[in-house]
């Protein structure tokens, strides 16, 4: 993993390698260098399998992290490429031509995080949500509880117990 990172660093301005396990590493790539890095890894280094593409919302830093996880079956190693994007108007280059299956991931990320991938096929077709008019629901600032209270009504005759109070009542019935 270290050797691969050294080779890649000679070609692309990569960040430090985080070695989670001997067979799994993560490295940060500037958004503009993602595509050449992916193509190099796929065509020259044998990382031919796109395991997943997903996003992490770092709300406090005002950033989205996109993680492209690639796998090399012959060397049994995985490399995760992290791309940090500003949360406001987040947009990233599409890689559906590198791996056709990425189009599905990008469609989901557009819907769930509101990250735009210009040019990706069927990007604006609804993936899971129908007629959604709130902020993208997988963002950290989307409050599921508040949304549910605003849009749905409770069934009458239903009791809810706060788990902490309930356990206290069970363990110390006389309120000790």
């Amino acid at each position: 993993m270290r050797a691969l990172h050294t080779r890649l660093q000679q070609l692309f301005p990569l960040g430090e390698l985080t070695e989670q396990r001997p067979d799994l590493g993560f490295v940060t790539v500037p958004a503009a260098y993602l595509r050449p890095t992916l193509l190099h890894l796929r065509d020259r280094e044998g990382y031919t399998h796109l395991v997943l593409l997903t996003a992490v919302d770092w709300l406090e830093d005002g950033q989205f992290q996109l993680t492209y996880l690639l796998s090399n079956r012959s060397s049994a190693q995985d490399l995760g490429l992290r791309v940090l994007l500003p949360r406001e108007g987040a947009s990233m280059e599409s890689i559906h031509d590198v791996w056709p299956t990425a189009a599905t991931y990008q469609r989901e990320l557009r819907e769930m995080f509101g990250i735009d991938f210009p040019g990706s096929p069927r990007l604006h077709e609804e993936f899971i949500l129908e007629g959604w008019n709130d902020i993208p629901p997988y963002r950290r600032d989307f409050d599921t509880l508040k949304y549910a209270r605003a849009n749905y009504t409770d069934r009458p005759g239903r009791e809810t117990h706060d788990p902490e109070q309930h356990m206290k009542q069970q363990l110390y019935p006389d309120g000790a």
């Binding site: 395991v51 299956t101 629901p137």
Partner: protein, 392 residues
């Protein structure tokens, strides 16, 4: 490998952006929904077909019928509270969710599970694999009109559920694998009852082999149908039996051995024709390999030793900032959990990489073109997809 080259002159032209130019008003094409309530659909999803005569010209997978936002729900729960959620992401084979999630938490928290727990985990995962394959075989035969196979395999699966019940206390959602180990060891006399169950399953599988795999209708409708080109494996992220039936021995148990698979003797089952028949046959043989693996595990596993690592109370865990990915080979292919932590008592992000995500979306939409309407169900089932993995 020779592929069937269809006569595209009858089909709609492509627009510059690659989509098909389908004029529904011409009366030549018809929209047809298969699902969400349809006997020929796998679980709660649907396929929007555009047909010309009885041939499919375009298919679009629609999911979202059971979306509960599992990944989002987990961000509001402590690490141990996520357990009742993760197992529900795949109903017929929930144990892989527990295993991958538990190991991801262990990996970030620096916990080492004891050896005996690893043997128990491997045993549970192989038992779950058998259940999942039995369900698949019933569905695959049912999609082609052989209803009786489903009744036989349900019987065999029920026997395995009994073994699960006596071992874990639950039949479907076991919640038995925890970060750090497993909840309990084997009950008394388990080995003998398991051996009886395995013999019964082998006997059922012999009948299934005779009746399903030698059936003229089944062969006629599946041989040469629904071929996955080996070149698509990397493009579409195809893993598991779908890849092995195409002649590529992709098996995480062999490629990146986890748990105790280094100490077990097995060879990944592969096929070469890559059609529906081969995929069914690969799964049938893989099921029998799991039967053998369970025998090996029961013979080799230690009977004493700790089952769970020494850890602080799970109710108050805070895990340092980090990210990891853990994978295992489930009955459908590579199952993985991507877990990000931020130093708090809750996961920052959990992403489930289910094999159905790629198989039922991009791959199915590619394969469904030019097949007959009556073969859609068989093709879809042959990819062995479970919708909750797509819409976590």
């Amino acid at each position: 490998m020779d592929f069937f080259a269809p006569d595209r002159s009858q089909y709609p032209a492509k627009k510059p952006d690659g989509t098909l130019d389908i004029d529904l008003a011409s009366g030549k094409y018809l929209k047809l929904w298969q699902g969400p309530n349809h006997p020929g659909i796998t679980g709660n999803m649907s396929v929007e077909l555009t047909v010309c005569g009885d041939e499919v010209v375009e298919g679009k997978t629609h999911v979202g019928y059971l979306h509960r936002g599992f990944e989002k729900l987990m961000e509001r729960r402590s690490f141990i509270q996520c357990f009742p959620i993760v197992c529900r992401i795949c109903v017929p084979e929930p144990d892989f969710n527990e295993y991958c999630y538990a190991v991801a938490v262990e990996d970030l928290a620096g916990i080492q599970s004891p050896e005996r727990a690893n043997w128990m985990r491997a045993l549970i995962l192989e038992m779950g694999r058998i259940n999942s394959y039995l369900m698949y075989l019933g569905g695959q035969a049912g999609a082609l009109g052989l209803g009786v196979i489903g009744q036989w395999t349900t019987y065999a699966r029920d026997l395995m559920l009994d073994r699960f019940e006596e071992m874990t206390g639950a039949r479907i959602y076991h919640m038995f694998i925890l970060p750090g180990g497993v909840r309990d060891g084997l009950p008394e006399g388990f080995e003998q009852r398991m051996e009886e169950t395995l013999r019964e399953i082998e006997s059922t599988m012999k009948d299934v082999h005779d009746v399903m795999f030698h059936n003229a209708v089944f062969k006629k409708r599946t041989v040469g149908q629904g071929v996955i080109d080996p070149a698509w494996l990397d493009q579409y992220g195809v893993t598991g039996p779908n890849a092995r039936a195409a002649g590529v021995a992709k098996d995480v148990r062999r490629d990146q051995p986890y748990l105790v698979y280094r100490e077990l003797e097995f060879e990944p089952v592969i096929g070469h024709d890559s059609d529906i028949y081969t995929r069914s046959d690969v799964r049938r043989r893989d099921l029998l390999m799991s039967v053998d693996l369970i025998r090996q595990i029961l013979a080799k596993m230690p009977r004493s030793g700790p089952l769970i690592a020494d850890m602080p109370s799970m109710l108050h865990w805070k895990i340092p900032r980090g990210e990891t990915y853990v994978r295992g080979e489930c009955s459908r292919g590579e199952y993985g959990y991507y877990l990000v932590t931020d130093g708090s008592g809750f996961p920052r992000r959990v992403n489930v990489r289910g094999p159905s995500y790629t198989h039922a979306m991009a791959l199915l939409e590619r394969m469904i073109v030019n097949i007959n309407i009556s073969d859609v169900a068989a093709l879809m089932v042959s990819l062995h997809t479970y919708p909750p993995e797509i819409e976590r």
